[in-house]
């Protein structure tokens, strides 16, 4: 915790009042010493995905928050020097904050597991499932959670069967409005809500710019809620839900440029609704075998159904991200929440080692 604010003399014997700015008069908050024996955290941020910019910002914010609690933190990009760096510096725990493929699809996590470094977050296999939306949705559906109906259409299918034919049948049989998105991706990149049939072709082209398989989902209306989940001592716990109220689409601009979105933390829900949404998020976290932290995006329909849109194993941690807002709304200092996440990664590694 932050050291108590130093007692500055408010009135001296003569009644004069000194306004003290810490740092100028020599009275300063003692910097929290980073104990040499404490855990060394390595944050991986950047990468080569389309979300590199977001990842860099996330990495910086989390590093700042962790350093404020006194942890020793360093940041590194995922490039050809990473493995050598890991060998040389042997951090106690790695926190991959990469968004997009490479970071969230499990490939990097496999390598981290092989090099024996404990890392924060879901394991490689579960990551791969969570990253691929259709497969994740299938698992959620099987576990009894609600998720909008969908189609998975790779680009090659359009080539083989002819685009017009496929689009026509989609419009006629599946119906509009739909949301077109890449099966693997985040940050609303390549996501388009299609209301008119004439817009569907364009939406497919823009979606395929980000990946070669498209997910066409029924558009669902309701309250947009993001529920962050953290592993507590007795299992996953949901943090207060964040309600996202946006004029227009909740696209990249809305997500990362403050102003267009109004966030309500905690969300404007009744007790029952809040409990339901939290339950759904925790269930998603458990069904997909996620670890340490995650964020589930749901749409709460007027009839009370919480439709799960996606589950993220490496939620954004920028200034506008929901995870940080939820953590702060739960009454906890941000740095401490992150610290707990790091510590739970260390603990699970130790218990695994002890058990083997």
């Amino acid at each position: 915790m932050t050291a108590p604010f130093p007692t500055t003399p408010v009135s001296t014997a003569t009644g004069a009042h000194e306004v003290v700015a810490p740092g100028l008069s020599g009275i300063s908050v003692p910097a929290r010493e980073t104990s040499g024996g404490g855990p060394q955290v390595l944050i991986l941020a950047g990468g080569l995905s389309h979300e590199r910019d977001i990842s860099l910002r996330s990495g910086r914010r989390v590093a700042e928050a962790l350093r404020a609690t006194g942890m020793a933190v360093s940041i590194h990009d995922v490039d050809s020097e990473l493995l050598a760096y890991l060998q040389r510096h042997r951090p106690s725990v790695v926190w991959p904050l990469l968004h997009g493929a490479g970071g969230e699809d499990g490939s990097l996590r496999d390598v981290l597991a092989l090099s024996g470094v404990p890392f924060v977050g879901t394991g490689a296999r579960a990551s791969r499932i969570a990253w691929d939306k259709p497969i994740a949705k299938e698992q959620l559906l099987a576990a009894g959670l609600a998720t909008p109906d969908w189609l998975t259409l790779p680009q090659d299918l359009f080539r083989d069967l002819g685009a017009q034919g496929v689009l026509t049948i989609v419009v006629e049989r599946f119906g509009l409005p739909v949301v077109v998105k890449p099966t693997r991706g985040g940050s609303s990149l390549g996501v388009t809500r299609v209301e008119k049939a004439s817009d569907l072709a364009r939406a497919m082209v823009e979606c395929f710019a980000y990946g070669d398989c498209a997910l066409i989902e029924r558009a669902v209306d309701g309250m947009e809620i993001a529920v962050s989940v953290v592993d507590g001592a007795d299992g996953p716990v949901a943090l207060p839900a964040v309600e996202i109220f946006v004029d227009g689409a909740y696209d990249y601009d809305a997500k990362y440029n403050p102003g267009r979105v109004e966030y309500f933390v905690p969300a404007r829900l009744t007790f029952e609704q809040a409990r339901h949404v939290a339950k759904v998020a925790v269930a998603a976290h458990q069904v997909l075998d996620l670890r340490h932290w995650s964020r589930t995006d749901v749409i709460l329909q007027p009839d009370g159904t919480a439709q799960v849109l996606e589950v993220s194993v490496a939620p954004g941690m920028t200034e506008t991200s929901s995870f940080a807002q939820a953590a702060m709304a739960s009454g906890h200092d941000l740095g401490t929440v992150y610290r707990r996440i790091v510590e739970s990664a260390l603990v699970s590694r130790e218990t695994a080692a002890a058990g083997s």
């Binding site: 932050t2 685009a163 710019a209 990249y252 905690p266 007790f271 409990r275 929440v337």
Partner: protein
């Protein structure tokens, strides 16, 4: 006398303050009687339940006394009420700190500055006046807390601590302990079901929403478009060495003689430090202005005087100043189609309207210019100036022929339209000596913008405007209000460079370098992308490529980044979102081998995108939201 109950004795003690005349004043004898009174002070007459209820409602002793007297005809003393409260209830006193500070403050933390601040805070909230010392203490604490975004809370083992304020929830300076975290509990506070804390926080009542930008409603109209889109975020990937970036316009300055420049800088600071590090003239350093005339003489401008030159912080600032002094919101500016993205940004920020005039292989088309001016006159629109980049256009790559220069000047003179001639690349031609600038022929109708960024280096941020007398005076005042004065240190460094180094030789070296890169680009395009078309620039940094039918450069960029190549989509260079069927390639920075590799990668992307467009029957579409910044920042290659 019968031993009176403590009640009456107490009243007697207070009798001098009492204005109640019903009971007899008993006199001081009673005071001494009180101190020896051993009867419990609660009178049988005191209605305990009623008094408890009134205490719970927050009434103070005096108010309760009044109430009992008025409504129940019972006479009691405030002291009796207070004693009753202490002995028979657990209700804290009305103004006690126990009520104000709900948590259990330990003795050693009692006299903390925070405790005093909290008390003063509550006192002020109740409308009571504070002493000077209290006020100062409270102001200081509040200021510090708001600046740090923190609130006070109390924890048993640590005492008064500061925790981060929760936006929208912690509105005061205090956080109650029920929602404060304690070190002991495992956060998040986890109940058996693991879902309740979220729900409870919700049920506790949501605070108002936050937009995470407290100034959301305060921005000026002209700032509304200043936001980065996902296209701009993609350029962050372009910075990685794995990606061949053909997007940015960073000049290749690795060949500069850094030792020589460094020595000269050192001598400069040692000998002229006090003036190099001081504010300078708003118009710019006189010596540099003379040197600038030597430089522009190479472009045919020999009829200018050092006083006609205004030094700016890069020619980007020159553009800003010119627009600032000439353009009102809604005024019309004519620019080429396409035009320099930085200029469009400036025009947008001054809320100007921009119309694009077509170009061809010889630059701006004079007939089209005339037609645009006629149309503007017919519609009653005032055209403030024509913005043109006559040499090695960015992004077009073309050069305005000599004959057309005269025609353009003649047309503009006829219509009374100022020409803003922006010439950063004039000396970087590969084939021939530079054509004379339009300014060389007309001193009154042309503002000439120049820069050292491409002929020397961009880091010093030195550019200039050559303007006729009256315009120049306004520019100087505008510049002073923007920056006070251009950097003396930078200007003197450039003067030193021009005096001591072979700057013309350096420009020749640059030309060779960029020519080689241009050749690599063109040959790679010819080899890999025959379905596209492009111009062949004979100078400058850029190739303007027209994509095959149906391909959208903007929609294609994410795919290109996946394939590890970057470019700038053509939509960045038009005011209203056109240009998606073009893209700009810069060859100034990467080596020829990298350029070839980059073009090869780009070709695969273009072919795949063309297939996709054919498959779905789509085509390039204009960009709807043109205000987004969709070009790389200047420090990206």
């Amino acid at each position: 006398m019968e031993r009176v109950t403590g009640l009456c004795a107490a009243r007697g003690r207070n009798s001098q303050h009492s204005n109640n005349t019903r009971a007899p004043v008993l006199g001081h004898r009673v005071v001494s009687g009180l101190s020896r009174c051993t009867v419990p002070l609660v009178s049988r007459k005191l209605p305990a339940a009623l008094v408890t209820r009134l205490l719970e409602e927050g009434l103070g002793p005096r108010a309760i006394v009044e109430h009992l007297r008025e409504h129940h005809g019972i006479e009691v003393s405030p002291q009796a009420i207070s004693t009753f409260r202490k002995r028979h209830t657990t209700i804290p006193a009305q103004h006690s700190t126990r009520r104000v500070i709900p948590w259990d403050v330990r003795a050693e933390h009692r006299s903390s500055v925070y405790r005093r601040a909290i008390l003063a805070y509550h006192r002020r909230a109740q409308g009571r006046s504070l002493t000077g010392e209290e006020r100062r203490n409270l102001d200081h604490v509040e200021r510090t807390l708001r600046a740090a975004g923190q609130v006070i809370t109390y924890q048993h083992d640590e005492g008064w601590t500061l925790v981060p304020a929760r936006p929208g929830i912690d509105t005061g300076i205090i956080r109650e302990p029920e929602t404060a975290m304690t070190e002991q509990s495992t956060p998040p506070v986890s109940p058996p079901t693991g879902t309740t804390p979220a729900a409870e926080a919700q049920a506790a009542g949501a605070a108002g929403g936050t937009r995470l930008d407290p100034w959301f409603g305060s921005y000026a109209e002209r700032a509304h478009g200043m936001k980065a889109s996902e296209i701009r975020a993609l350029f962050a990937v372009a910075n990685r060495p794995e990606v061949v970036s053909l997007a940015g316009g960073m000049p290749f300055i690795e060949g500069l003689p850094l030792e020589v420049i460094g020595e000269a800088m050192k001598r400069l600071i040692m000998t002229k430090g006090p003036s190099a590090l001081q504010y300078g003239s708003g118009q710019g350093d006189e010596e540099l202005r003379e040197r600038i005339l030597e430089v522009v003489a190479l472009e045919g401008i020999t009829n200018a005087h050092p006083d006609d030159v205004v030094v700016t912080t890069g020619s980007q600032q020159a553009l800003d100043l010119v627009t600032r002094i000439f353009v009102d919101p809604g005024d019309l500016i004519l620019a080429e189609a396409p035009s320099y993205v930085g200029a469009l940004g400036v025009f947008r920020s001054y809320q100007a309207e921009v119309e694009h005039v077509p170009m061809d292989a010889d630059g701006l088309v004079p007939e089209a210019l005339e037609a645009a001016l006629v149309e503007a006159r017919r519609a009653g629109r005032r055209v403030k100036f024509l913005y043109t980049i006559p040499n090695y256009h960015n992004p077009g790559g073309v050069t305005l022929s000599l004959e057309r220069r005269h025609r353009v000047m003649e047309i503009c003179k006829r219509f009374g339209v100022l020409i803003v001639e922006d010439n950063p690349y004039g000396l970087l031609g590969f084939e021939r000596e530079p054509l004379p600038a339009m300014r060389a022929f007309d001193g009154e109708g042309v503002l000439y913008l120049g820069s050292f960024s491409k002929t020397f280096a961009p880091g010093y941020r030195v550019g200039w405007i050559i303007a006729p007398h009256a315009v120049r005076e306004k520019l100087i005042l505008a510049s002073e209000s923007a920056i006070l004065s251009p950097s003396n240190a930078s200007q003197m460094a450039i003067t030193t460079y021009l005096d001591t180094c072979d700057w013309k030789g350096q420009i020749k070296a640059y030309r060779e370098l960029y020519r080689e890169r241009r050749d690599a680009t063109i040959s790679a395009l010819a080899e890999h992308m025959p379905s596209a078309s492009w111009n062949v620039p004979d100078g400058g940094f850029y190739v303007w490529v027209k994509l095959p039918e149906g391909v959208d450069a903007r929609a294609m960029l994410p795919r290109a980044v996946t394939e590890r190549v970057a470019y700038v989509p053509g939509t960045a260079f038009f005011m209203h979102g056109q240009g998606a069927d073009h893209l700009r390639l810069s060859y100034c920075y990467p080596t020829p081998e990298r350029i070839r590799e980059g073009v090869r990668r780009l070709a695969t992307v273009v072919n795949a995108e063309a297939d996709l467009a054919r498959l779905f029957g789509t085509h390039a579409e204009p960009d709807e939201d043109t205000r987004d910044a969709e070009y790389p920042s200047p420090d990206l290659a």
